[in-house]
């Protein structure tokens, strides 16, 4: 058997598209977190009714960059108190079939902190798909 020789081969399981959509998230150019404060989180929710154990294929574009970033987590460049740093983006399928994209600014312990320079609008492009275990 050589699965790659055929466009479609019924001997081998495949993936089926489930749902797809686009969501937008604008993050500000300045985030202040006081000493003892909590992480600051910005969230975009894509209500597409994704199946419970659906897989996720996604990429995120930004009005600040000319390229897209692939996958369910990545970092975004910024400055933290004037030094090179990053905030974090992660994408999951939550209850009710929603796809959630979160950008998290981590609160440091024992000091005030200021994140700057990351202002942009992110666009999440997500497709979910069913694996052979679904249906």
């Amino acid at each position: 058997m050589k699965p790659s020789r055929f466009i479609f081969n019924s001997d081998y399981a495949t993936l089926k598209n489930d749902a797809e959509g686009v969501a937008f998230l604008t993050i500000p150019n300045l985030v202040n977190i006081p000493d003892g404060g909590a992480d600051v989180v910005y969230t975009a929710t894509l209500q597409i009714g994704a199946s419970p154990s659906a897989g996720l294929r996604s990429f995120v574009t930004s009005d600040k960059y000319t390229y897209a970033l692939s996958g369910p987590s990545f970092s975004i460049a910024c400055k933290q108190d004037g030094f090179d740093a990053e905030c974090f983006c992660d994408i999951t399928r939550n209850s009710n079939g929603n796809i959630e994209m979160r950008v998290t600014f981590v609160a440091p312990q024992g000091a005030d902190t200021q994140y700057t320079g990351m202002g942009q609008t992110l666009t999440l492009h997500a497709k979910t798909f069913l694996s052979p275990f679904d249906l």
Partner: protein, 228 residues
């Protein structure tokens, strides 16, 4: 001019079919689902053998709340206390190793579903066991669904740019093998690369997939580019 317009029209049309004989669909060569209990700290490590006989590239999903929340392998979330969750599924030519952690996962049931692909190059000259009957889903093909159409796949190294020329940004899955390591695990687009100049650093444009040379931690990538 007419040919350009025709090409654009064809590009739009090819996405409208549930199956298109110009493009193969994913063929899964390895499947596995299971569950196990996370330890008291919310960690778990599982090693699964496979007998495909070549390097495979594994992706999948996992949960600790019976699929109320579903995570992809390679996803991670960093919070003030460290990681809220993270997971990898690293495959070699004989094993798949799962490593996962979740801050709320102490003694909870970790459920996973994994599927693996093989590269065109690796599939030459070996016999691969059919997988169509290995899952609960006996219906391999159903016209109720569309199928992800594979446009291009292959191996790339840091510093390589792969031209796809689709004219719009495609969905891309990428697996990476770290230096001095064995096995590939699926990786996300850009972690630390833009800021610190290291780590996986993959950028997708309307015509290219760029594996930046500022990614010395990875020595090799396997990519699959799908039609938008």
């Amino acid at each position: 001019m007419c040919l350009t317009r025709l090409n654009k029209l064809m590009a739009k049309l090819r996405e409208k079919f549930i199956l298109n004989s110009d493009y193969p669909v994913d063929k899964i060569v390895w499947l596995k689902e299971g569950d196990a209990t996370m330890d008291a700290w919310g960690n778990i490590n599982i090693t699964l053998p496979h007998t495909v006989g070549a390097q495979i590239y594994v992706n999948g999903v996992w949960t600790i709340d019976d699929w109320t929340t579903t995570y992809n392998f390679s996803a991670q979330r960093q919070v003030a206390q460290g990681y809220e969750y993270q997971a990898t599924a690293k495959a070699t030519d004989s094993t798949v190793k799962i490593s996962a952690a979740h801050e709320n996962g102490a003694n909870k049931t970790f459920k996973y579903r994994l599927w693996g692909f093989i590269s065109e190059e690796s599939s030459k000259g070996i016999e691969i066991k059919p997988t169509a009957g290995q899952s609960a889903n006996r219906l391999v093909f159903s016209s109720d669904y569309e199928y992800p159409m594979l446009y291009k796949e292959g191996i790339a190294t840091p510093g390589t740019t792969i031209a796809h020329g689709l004219g719009e940004i495609p969905y891309v899955d990428v697996w990476g093998k770290m230096q001095n390591d064995t096995g590939y695990s699926i990786v996300a687009g850009d972690c630390f690369g833009e800021v610190y100049g290291y780590g996986e650093n993959i950028k997708i444009t309307a015509n290219e997939v760029i594996f930046k040379s500022t990614a010395p931690l990875y020595e090799s990538y396997y990519y699959r580019i799908y039609l938008p």
